[in-house]
């Protein structure tokens, strides 16, 4: 029998610690359902108090709605409390527009690549 991935698994979150910077690579669509997985993974890594900065790689994120924006801002608050910087990488046009409209891009920086983001920190 062939086992399939759960049909509703629309998001994949991979996290990695690079020095005191947490890199989260988000693949798929971020909405009120899938945001739970994102929050869970992010919080798991943010428990480590050494984490100061966050690089959010969105080059494979095809959609973010207002629930997703809320979750991103929630993580930003944690980073801000620690005096760190948050950088979002690889925004496709509509993702960029919603992050702009919501004011996220007033507080979160953007970079063209993960490498450039890490170089800035």
């Amino acid at each position: 029998m062939i086992r399939r991935r759960k049909e509703d698994e629309r998001v994949h979150v991979a996290a990695e610690l690079v020095g005191n910077t947490l890199v989260i690579r988000l693949q798929g669509e971020l909405d009120m359902h899938t945001v739970e997985e994102f929050k869970h993974e992010a919080e798991r890594y943010l428990m480590d108090k050494r984490v100061k900065n966050l690089v959010l790689v969105l080059s494979k994120t095809s959609l973010i709605d207002s629930s997703g924006v809320g979750a991103i801002l929630g993580r930003y608050r944690t980073i801000k409390e620690r005096g760190g910087t948050m950088i979002a990488v690889g925004l496709r046009p509509v993702v960029k527009r919603i992050l702009k409209l919501s004011g996220v891009l007033n507080v979160v920086e953007t970079a063209e690549s993960e490498r450039r983001a890490l170089a800035r920190l």
Partner: protein, 155 residues
């Protein structure tokens, strides 16, 4: 005159395609709804950005029905999609709590849930060409939205 919802719904005009979805107010179904609407829309030659905009708008309206319409309860959400020559119409209907003050709800950052941002309806306004909400407290909410499309190119 009548108190029937007035939006730009095209009475008399026949859509090229019409799809109705009816589903339980579960968070998992938000993705299902926007994907289904995008599938109908993609029968036309749209840009990736246009499809993304439609998906986000549907996501907002359906999420609102789940989160605010049915809150801690559960109910059915209906999505009516009509594809016209020059327009895509999407109507999201719930039989939930309803909205007390629609004008207020439409203003950016206004929300009845302090853990949220009051962003969804502004996003729909930004990404679609038309948004009309009708609602009655205790009875439910109907969100009509439409996006202009370039007429299908004929060979």
């Amino acid at each position: 005159m009548q108190a029937v919802p007035q939006d730009k719904s095209r009475a008399g005009r026949i859509p090229e395609n019409e799809v109705q979805l009816l589903f339980t107010s579960k968070p998992e179904n938000v993705g299902f709804a926007r994907t289904a609407v995008a599938l109908v829309a993609s029968q036309r030659d749209l840009t990736v950005d246009q499809l993304d905009e439609i998906k986000v708008a549907v996501s907002e309206a359906v999420s609102n029905a789940v989160i605010h319409g049915y809150r801690d309860t559960s109910g059915m959400i209906q999505v009516d999609v009509k594809l016209y020559e020059d327009e895509l119409e999407v109507v999201v209907t719930d039989k939930g709590t309803g909205i007390e003050d629609i004008e207020w709800a439409m203003q950016p950052t206004n929300t009845t849930d302090k853990s949220r941002m009051g962003l969804g309806l502004s996003v729909i306004k930004e990404f679609m060409d038309d948004l009309t909400i009708t609602s009655r407290p205790g009875a439910g909410t109907r969100v009509y939205m439409a996006k202009k499309l370039a007429p299908a190119s004929r060979p």
